[in-house]
């Protein structure tokens, strides 16, 4: 990976005008050495600290704007007001968040399993893929809002129906990415396996699956968010309420009742959950691919 930024900042300590040590022989003697303040180089720390700082800044700006223009709370509440709503309704919102997360987790799990298996089937035979890939696309483009009623009719148990809806939304990126990954093995290695008389199963397990992992994780990253969105949308559409209601119900109700701070608090929880899921997937990616894949290994070319 290109590390322009990192390089430039490292060199700033020793020389001011030079873009990169390799760029030209023109400048006067330049020196590269290892002089780094450790925490600035600690990826993990930065990955949390920097966006958090930006977040605090943005929230501050938001609060200022809301106060400066005297925006009424029922239109756009300031972050402090939202935080207060979060605090006041903590129990309520947490219960709803839990419900939504359960549906998300269920849908994500089912989508991952089914999507991966479908992708396996696709790469086993070009005919299977040719025949059914367009129908996988169908899954993605059919608006869930339109078929949710049918699902609710067919799947009696309400929570199961929600999981099915969310699964349908999250499925496609996993199928698409995993299929692409399984097909993207290096042609040389594929030839080697063929030549060694590897069975399909061996080729799948030892070549295609490890090779597809980076793509698979990329699919998981997209689908984890979609599962969450799917859970929320499904709830919107299928409209369950009552005791075990999720965040969508709280948002809808807060909207109807114009309890906008609570609505934003619920939205904030969803967003936070989504970002957390995303980082979780990214972390999993780093952990599983460390040592061999560019996306998880710092470059030492």
């Amino acid at each position: 990976m290109l590390a322009h930024g990192a390089r430039a900042s490292t060199h700033a300590a020793t020389s001011s005008s030079v873009p990169s040590p390799a760029s030209s022989l023109a400048p006067p003697p330049r020196v590269t050495a290892r002089r780094r303040t450790p925490w600035v180089q600690n990826e993990r720390f930065l990955r949390v600290a920097v966006p958090a700082m930006v977040g605090v800044l943005l929230l501050g700006l938001w609060e200022c704007l809301v106060r400066a223009f005297n925006v009424p709370e029922y239109l756009v509440p300031g972050p402090l007001r939202i935080a207060q709503a979060l605090h006041d309704d903590f129990g309520l919102l947490m219960k709803a968040l839990w419900t939504t997360l359960c549906i998300t987790a269920g849908a994500f799990f089912v989508a991952t399993v089914i999507g991966t298996l479908v992708a396996f089937a696709f790469v086993q035979s070009r005919w299977v893929e040719l025949s059914f890939f367009p129908y996988a696309v169908l899954l993605q483009v059919t608006p869930i809002a339109a078929i949710a009623p049918l699902i609710i009719i067919w799947v009696k148990q309400p929570t199961a129906a929600l999981v099915v809806c969310a699964t349908l939304i999250a499925l496609f990126p996993i199928i698409a990415n995993t299929t692409l990954g399984l097909r993207s093995v290096s042609p040389g290695l594929a030839a080697f396996f063929r030549m060694q008389g590897a069975s399909r199963w061996q080729t799948l397990v030892r070549l295609q699956i490890p090779g597809a992992l980076p793509y698979w994780f990329a699919g998981l990253r997209i689908s984890s968010g979609l599962s969450l969105v799917g859970a929320v949308v499904a709830e919107f559409v299928a409209g369950t309420g009552g005791q075990g209601a999720g965040l969508a119900y709280e948002i809808l109700q807060a909207g109807y009742q114009l309890n906008i701070p609570r609505m934003f608090a619920a939205l904030g929880l969803i967003s936070a959950a989504g970002v957390a899921l995303f980082w979780l997937m990214l972390g999993l990616n780093q952990w599983a691919l460390r040592g061999w894949h560019d996306s998880a290994t710092p470059q030492e070319h």
Partner: protein, 301 residues
Amino acid sequence: QDKLTFLTSWYAQAEHGGFYQALATGLYKQAGLDVTIKMGGPQVNGMQLLTAGQADLIIGYDFQVLSGVEKGLPVVTVAASFQKDLQGMLTHGDVKSLADVKSKTILVAGNNRTSWWPWLKSKYDLTDAQTRPYTFNLQPFFADTNVVQQAYPSSEPFQALKKGLPHKFFLFADEGYPPYGTSIVTTQGLLKAKPDVVKRFVDASMKGWVSYLKNPAPGNALIKQDNPNMSDEQIAFGISQLKALKVLDSGDAATQGVGTMTAARWKATRDYMVKEELLKPDTPWQQAFTLDIVKQVKVLP
């Protein structure tokens, strides 16, 4: 004990009070019925669930029943809780009558474009161009004093009241909008097979309504159980609106009992739909309702 599933049209609220009251006070049990009340929601299509056998009776809507009959659906309205449809318009304080909305921006939800909107449009000479979508959120209304919007008497005006905003509410039914409100719809099949069960249900429900308006506490407890976000204040406001608008006991109901219907009203509704090309003229509209049940039931307010 006959088991029945009853599906409402929305999250539990004052407009469903009679049914919850009948459940809470044991009126259903006394009538030999074991009733389960399921909540509707924004995108829950009650007619579909009814015809699919997921519910035995639902809160229906006259237009939808007529459309269903046009399509050959075996559905039939057996009673109408309210003599007036509850749809109306919420305006800012400066609007004196519905005639004044001609100069306003009107928020109309998508699916209402084929219900009351054509009626309002032709009656007050409005245009499609002045409408904007309504998303069941009051923020646009509050943000712009030139906006008027559709509303239910018990919810949106309550928010306006709470915000202390000068506002007015106009019920379309008071201006001659024909359909009934909160009617009870079932399938031809159930009606034929167990007319007695249907009759007992209608009877108990109507008793529930009368009881609810006298002492809503038992019903409210159930409503709040299904929809925890419903505040006492809002329910109380809803009940007061129901009383003020005399939806239960006006017109024919005063003499023939709560829940009554007349063929003339149905014809008016049908004629309106035919005029707006919402219904084929040759639809056997008489099949959309039966007066047999309400004739046997006489619950005076």
